[in-house]
Subunit: 318 residues, 2 copies
Amino acid sequence: MTSTVAILGSGAWGTAMAVLLADRCRAVLWCRSAQRMREIADRGENSTYLPGVPLPGSVELSDLVPPADLYLVAIPTQHIRSTLEGLKLDRSTAAVSLAKGIEISTLSRPSEILSRWFDRVSALSGPSMAPEVARGLPTSVVVAGADADRAQRILMGPSFRVYTSRDLIGVELGGALKNVITLAAGICDGLRLGDNAKASLITRGVVEMARFGASMGAEPQTFFGLAGIGDLITSCTSPLGRNLYVGRQIGEGRRLEEVLRGMVHVPEGVWTCRAVEELARKRSIEMPIAAEIFRILYEGKDPRAAIRDLMTRTPKAE
Amino acid sequence: MTSTVAILGSGAWGTAMAVLLADRCRAVLWCRSAQRMREIADRGENSTYLPGVPLPGSVELSDLVPPADLYLVAIPTQHIRSTLEGLKLDRSTAAVSLAKGIEISTLSRPSEILSRWFDRVSALSGPSMAPEVARGLPTSVVVAGADADRAQRILMGPSFRVYTSRDLIGVELGGALKNVITLAAGICDGLRLGDNAKASLITRGVVEMARFGASMGAEPQTFFGLAGIGDLITSCTSPLGRNLYVGRQIGEGRRLEEVLRGMVHVPEGVWTCRAVEELARKRSIEMPIAAEIFRILYEGKDPRAAIRDLMTRTPKAE
């Protein structure tokens, strides 16, 4: 029997999943407003968030959440709570978070937020730029948490490989932290420091991610897999990445508010950076890159000085 | 007292090191032939290998190897033996290999080749595209082996950070193996598979590198540092990379001989791939990516089929 997958959230990632799943599931794309739903239906595509990708006719649009075998929650981390509030949801349905971030008001991971509404929550992460997934380009992701096997069975397809992991915390923190390191990589690009410097920064970024993860209960090696370095490489090198874009603009001398003014919504790293800074401070975790990004974004530090401070602080044995 | 550094080899990397060291050492760039030396002297730059970078006046050119505090051996791996044969060299001078490869005729690492001529050999590796180093852009590398501390002291500068490592085998194999994985990443680019697929391939490539390294006596974690993933990221993403270029051309449907015909010399990965295939076969090391690259380059396998075979072979838990 065909599974029903309800995708909560009609941004780029939710829409891409609907397109991906259309040929093998009953895919229902939940839209927050009836107006939004009509727009997508009329144009046959989500022209705001995933322009140029036609929505297959078999994707159902709905402004009510239908009963389903799986919920995919594709809502930006900072908006999950306010979006789900007041919706009629079935607690016993397995929910998979597709969000990558940490909620700044509570310092919670997306799966922790979702556990208020669902008994069985897992998280999916990895290098998965939405437009590529929607176009059927080969993508590999990791899913961890309750019912990860079920999510794997339902979502796996020829162009979309789903691996399971036992490290829910690591999978989620990988996706959250990589956005912060990506901001740093973007700044490095904006300052025209070259590919040698950028690669060093990414390499040290993963070590920093793993250190943070370990102190939060994750397995360090998760950060050296798809949900860590894999995702980080894509977001630091793909021209599609929005965190990279923000970083680059800042490296070129623009201010955060100015950069964000031109964007549909705030890239996750801009929020997560604040949550990471707070958690690192509370728990005394050494996060030199994240700390400098925080100072650049929120304390007006000059990006060039911040990167120089990073480049010169390291100890002499690797 | 100022140190004398003799750089053996006037390719891109050797010339870049001469430019880098000119302001803090007596830097002598050894050229294989008097003619080559005159060419560089006349033009004030190495227009064959490092065009557009003026050679500082303080760099000395020589077709004899002078007495020195440090030799930097910047000769492509497959040519080290034939180049050093017959030169007058001081065995007791510390030698640092800058080569990244495995000699196919003997399956030796560069430092093993050099130990025939020198008592104290170390190796330097990491994300270090020569044109960026020559332009003074920030670069971080790792040096391991006998006298690594001395090499660090002499080579370290404001734009060139040198870390020491105790893992000579890992540092050398990282530099060798990354060229093979880079060929795969280039093929992925040439086939237009997207950044998600490329990042997955790189992520699995590092795991494969670490596995190979471990079975050769290296520390697996070295491959997750500058000399492994760091260098791999640069060579898989920088437009300056020659292994990436070869891979991309092959992904676009050209044959190896055809691609190499247009190049000044054969990128190291093309050789190392053969050495790795042989070592992996002899020692039964599972190297799926390297094996497919070998089949594409030397057995005429279709790149698209090879990548498909790679994408579908993986186990279900990461």
